[in-house]
């Protein structure tokens, strides 16, 4: 299988998102609804390869080129999860990104006299990040199309792709073209151009199986749930080729082009990038990169790309299983990512408990102007998926901020957004726990405290909360363990935590199962430790031994 070198192949970016496809769709809707425009949907994924806090101070339109040159950095948006061979973590050192687009932009940046800094983000939100000013260029298999052209300016195209059909090798005699599959279920990448191709060919929607990730359509084909899989040829050339038993028909059709996306109104930047790209296309530099990554095809000549001198294909450019994969390094990376997971939880959970207490107290207030906001907050937050909240805060809030004249004030770093969303979301649940806990403290306790002349605040602090806390500790520990796992959701905004790192490495080398098992083991270990610690604290409180410092007057012994 595998599309030979002669056809154009391409797909763009892989999108992947491991577990939560349905949510991703919901998000989409939310994003589209809130963000107005937005390119045709496409899914997502992200991983995080860049220190999260690198948000350039935004300059006025038209001055981006000068700012980029002043700072010496071209920040560009890319989604490295499942992104082979466009952009993916280097299996030899997962902290680095490799791929033909990584090389392309590295060279492009050199031509501009700056260095390239990939800013990872969900594929679906590359343009949001561009508009929010987190990046100055989005270049990651974005197909040139009219809808997208309404919201961004495109550079000159840098790649020409076609659609490529993959079937099971055993069906080679039965299916020789897309037409032969009429009436059969065909799998595609959700939101990709392949969907439109199938619709145009008369496929009813229920016979188009859409997946949010580049690999899944082929796995479904292999498993026999669908009879064909259609994708841009780079994807077929990489992912389908990695699965024995699949066969990609050599012909490609319905060609299109990839180009970089820029914010509208940046003529200088666009001219500079176009000039650099034109040079790279003509002098064989780009052709050489494509050869190295096994994505060269003769069609590239149609958009003016010279093939350049013959070079050998990189080993990395094929999903050659784990050739060259250093498991020691991978495990070390997973351990580091686990640190990020722990850090997220360790910061978010205490905040959630505190914020939840505030909400619970507001909710119990007799004053409606305090009680109602808390009730509404709790209902809304508990009634919407965390993943949607993360997307809204990270991608939609900046657009909203811009619209209401706050400029870039609402553009926050991914890590901070992760903490904010986790803490804010869990606070709603902790509020309910606090409420139940405070209700469980007998009324007489408060009366006794008040009858001593304590203020309601003192009664709460000295008498009610210490007792309530003992009651609610088990459910809080339970939520703590849940949060450890929910931190995996922030990988969609590029925070490099455990899931992001595991999926990034796994998808690049088609060893997702192994990496997921490894990641699961790390999650399990952290959860067990957290649970253990929680049980200890509980036991200690139960023994009654530990008046908390500051909560209690002195003791005799």
């Amino acid at each position: 299988m595998l599309a030979g070198g002669s056809s154009d192949r391409m797909r763009r970016v892989p999108r992947s998102r491991s577990g939560r496809w349905p949510l991703a769709t919901a998000l989409l809707v939310a994003l589209l609804a809130c963000g107005a425009q937005q390119p045709p949907p496409a899914p997502d994924d992200a991983a995080a390869w860049a220190p999260v806090a690198t948000i350039p101070p935004r300059a006025a339109a038209g001055t981006s080129l000068r700012r980029i040159q002043d700072e010496g950095v071209l920040r560009w948006g890319v989604d490295p999860a499942g992104g082979a061979p466009f952009a993916m973590p280097d299996p030899r050192d997962p902290r680095r990104l490799v791929g033909f687009e990584i090389e392309l932009v590295d060279r492009l940046a050199q031509h501009l006299g700056v260095r390239s800094e990939p800013v990872p983000g969900d594929w679906l939100a590359l343009i949001d990040n561009l508009k929010a000013g987190r990046t100055d260029l989005a270049l990651n298999g974005l197909e040139v199309g009219a809808a997208r052209a309404e919201v961004v300016d495109f550079t000159v195209p840098y790649y020409r792709y076609g659609q490529q059909l993959t079937i099971r090798a055993a069906d080679r005699e039965r299916y020789g073209s897309l037409a032969d599959l009429a009436g059969r279920r065909v799998s595609v990448l959700n939101g990709s151009a392949s969907v439109e191709v199938l619709l145009a060919a008369g496929w009813p929607e229920e016979r188009i199986a859409q997946y949010d990730d580049s690999l899944a359509p082929y796995v479904e084909l292999e498993n026999g749930r669908v009879d064909g899989s259609l994708a841009e040829s780079i994807i077929a050339g990489y992912y389908a080729a990695g699965i024995p038993g699949l066969y990609s028909l050599p012909e490609t059709f319905s060609p299109g082009e990839y180009a970089g996306a820029l914010r509208k109104g940046e003529p200088e930047l666009r001219a500079a990038i176009d000039a650099a790209l034109a040079r790279m296309k003509q002098d064989g530099e780009l052709g050489r990169i494509y050869q190295r990554w096994g994505v060269w095809s003769e069609q590239q000549a149609e958009i003016g790309i010279a093939r350049g001198p013959e070079v050998a294909k990189l080993a990395l450019a094929s999903p050659g299983a784990d050739a060259g994969l250093d498991w020691g390094l991978v495990l070390r990376e997973l351990a580091v990512a686990t640190g990020a997971t722990i850090l997220l939880t360790a910061i978010s959970m205490p905040l959630a408990v505190l914020f939840g207490l505030g909400l619970a107290l507001m909710d119990r207030s007799r004053r409606p102007w305090l009680a109602w906001p808390a009730k509404i907050y709790t209902q809304v937050v508990r009634g919407t998926p965390l993943l949607v909240q993360i997307f809204l805060v990270y991608y939609t809030l900046p657009v909203l901020g811009e619209a209401i004249g706050l400029g870039k004030a609402l553009v926050w770093p991914a890590f901070a957004v992760g903490i904010l969303c986790l803490a804010g979301n869990y606070a709603a649940y902790e509020a309910e726990i606090h409420r139940a806990g405070l209700d469980a403290v007998p009324r007489g306790q408060r009366e006794a405290a008040l009858s001593l002349g304590m203020t309601p605040g003192q009664s709460l602090r000295l008498v009610e909360l210490p007792q309530s806390f003992r009651i609610i500790l088990p459910p809080i520990v339970n939520d703590l363990v849940a949060m450890i796992k929910d931190t995996s959701l922030v990988y969609v905004i590029g925070v490099r935590e455990l899931t992001a790192v595991a999926l990034g490495i796994g998808k690049a080398r088609l060893i997702v199962p192994q990496l997921l098992v490894a990641a699961a083991a790390f999650y399990l270990a952290v959860s067990l430790v957290a649970d253990r610690i929680g049980k200890r604290v509980e036991a200690r409180l139960r023994r009654g031994g530990t008046p908390k410092a500051g909560l209690e007057p002195g003791r005799l012994h």
């Binding site: 007489g444 006794a448 001593l452 007057p553 003791r555």
Partner: protein
């Protein structure tokens, strides 16, 4: 403990009226004068409003009409239903509660801290005494009720009677001008009642002013300087114990089963 010259007016209640939110009248215009160093015992059938009246005095319950004076100083007055007390009003209520101790039927010790901490809580956090001094006060109060040696124990490890004695120590550690007892022995095993009464008796002989709700007629007769009979939200009858118990008022006869 505070020792009042007998006869001085400590607490004065004028025309106190309270309705439940459903409109039912529970206290129907109560006038009462409590004099220093005296023990006033409130008797009456269940539901006549005794406990509610007591709780109105330190504002654990709101009331709608009337007012309460402490040593002639107005300390609280009726609020219309649903009134949100201002900051000043809340502070005034807190001050009132500092001066008027309360002992509950349900004990209500703080289970999460030890006995000493229970008794120190008021002096330390409300009276804002230095820790050492608060501890001294607390230990003295515990000594008073005979439980100094249990200072480091958790309330849960004490018997009900001992717990109630700690609650009394907690009240007297605030050096109140008046202590309200809301059926202090009703939740106790009969065998434990005696030790609590003994402590109250001692306080009485020390000259502590007390207002007590109880169902124990013998104790009332024994400790009271004055008996108040409540019925249907009013004080129907009041006087020295001998006189009250000798009376053939139908209320008394019904109550004493005589």
């Amino acid at each position: 403990m505070s020792r009042e010259p007998a006869g001085e007016v400590i607490l004065e209640v004028q025309g106190l009226r309270k309705r439940w939110p459903d409109g039912r009248v529970v206290l129907d215009g109560i006038d009462l004068t409590v004099t220093g160093a005296d023990v006033f015992v409130l008797l009456g059938p269940n539901g006549c409003g005794k406990s509610t009246f007591l709780r109105c005095l330190n504002r654990l319950e709101d009331y709608q009409e009337g007012r309460v004076l402490l040593r002639g100083e107005p300390v609280s007055c009726g609020w219309p239903a649903g009134h949100m007390p201002s900051r000043q009003e809340q502070a005034a209520v807190a001050r009132l509660r500092q001066r008027v101790g309360m002992v509950f039927q349900q004990l209500n010790l703080f289970p999460h801290v030890d006995v000493l901490a229970n008794v120190m809580m008021g002096p330390l956090h409300v009276l804002r005494k230095p820790r050492a001094q608060a501890q001294e006060i607390a230990l003295a109060a515990l000594r008073k009720v005979g439980l100094e040696e249990r200072a480091a124990d958790r309330p849960g490890s004490l018997s009900g009677g001992q717990q109630q004695r700690v609650a009394i120590a907690r009240a007297i550690a605030m050096a109140p001008e008046l202590i309200l007892f809301d059926e202090p022995t009703s939740a106790l095993d009969p065998l434990l009642v005696r030790e609590v009464f003994q402590v109250i008796r001692e306080l009485a002989s020390d000259g502590m002013t007390m207002l007590l709700v109880t169902h124990d007629l013998d104790f009332a007769r024994d400790v009271a300087d004055r008996i108040l009979f409540m019925d249907a939200g009013r004080i129907a009858l009041s006087g020295p114990p001998d006189q009250i118990f000798a009376s053939d008022h139908p209320l008394v006869r019904r109550f004493t089963g005589g």
